[in-house]
Symmetry: C2
Subunit: 233 residues, 2 copies
Amino acid sequence: MAGKLYGVGLGPGDPELMTLRAHRLISGARVVVYPTLAGGESFARSIAAGSIAPDTREIVMDVPMSVERAPAQVAYDQGAADIAAALDGGEDVVCLCEGDPFFYGSFMYLFARLSRRYEVEVVPGVTSIAACAASAGRPLVARNERLTVLPGPLPEAELRARIEGAESVAIMKVGRHLAKIRAVIDDLGFTGQAVYVERASLAQEVVCPLAQAPAEAPYFSMILLTKGADPWL
Amino acid sequence: MAGKLYGVGLGPGDPELMTLRAHRLISGARVVVYPTLAGGESFARSIAAGSIAPDTREIVMDVPMSVERAPAQVAYDQGAADIAAALDGGEDVVCLCEGDPFFYGSFMYLFARLSRRYEVEVVPGVTSIAACAASAGRPLVARNERLTVLPGPLPEAELRARIEGAESVAIMKVGRHLAKIRAVIDDLGFTGQAVYVERASLAQEVVCPLAQAPAEAPYFSMILLTKGADPWL
């Protein structure tokens, strides 16, 4: 009988923000799989490290850094083949996923390849948005408010149009797009309501008004924009 | 020295989807606080029940059911006063919050009242959106896709305009607005890509294509709409 694949959300970075279910599944796993980026450290593995038993087998998917899609897809093809071999051997496999597996997570590439052939369970995790709002002390949405989630790499004109028509906004993957995003928010007159957060929930966390954000932002950074003044009262 | 207030996200309903931190804080709490709706059971307390120690003091905020804002605000005023009394006595207080405290959560009303006077820490939780996507096997967003979160009570015309211009959409608080929302999605031709989820992660969970949704939906129900065909490949 084939094993089962678990896509397990690990939350934003603090290992204590893993769910009880994630901790239980990882602790009991005989095989785990996780991505590394261009041979670097795996952020997912670092979050889960304290839960992984010493004799667990680890399948590493090394994903090349590229704006092209094809090279990464080759890595996911290989990862899916390695996982399938373990599942065919009757072993369960736990895939370690930063944040939530289905919220900008690479697990969806494995899910697309394996979920028709094998039993797959997705364990949701705490998103970076929830962690950033908590760290910043900024409620995201109340009552009938709308939330818009935008990736920072979007073109300037599209960011402008989407932010203009939005209520609460979370801009993900800020990184090297920080200057462009700041210019748009400044121009729309919303800088006073914007907060910058990097590496939420980790020891190196930074939280500050957008106006005081550093010149360089890491990939794991976000801008939260809530337009109302105390809209939750 | 005054105590500290914790606003602790409990996730969507399955107690195993609490974070390790939530479990640790609740287990160690001498005082917890949670809302009930018009004298009913507390969903938040039911999620956390297995983590609450027997001798824990429980502060209950009974929130009246009303479309008016004022009566609920009176309940939060009273709750904030009760919490402040405990904090002034040097006790820490753990507030139990369904889902994530800052994502449509009533904790923000307590936060607005108490965070200027007391130390407050927010512990993020798994949102119902992440849980619904996991249960439905539907990735939410990949790469540079946008996610729009809309509350079901919005007027029909606004729902239509927001869904039309969106990529992935999560419609929250469906409940008695189901027929209105279905009509809009039908009219836009998106019914085939829409999934209905109620009570995600609980034993009574329902997941089905929107076309097969029941006639009556509970408050804790959601519609997920992802427009692309395999956009994550």
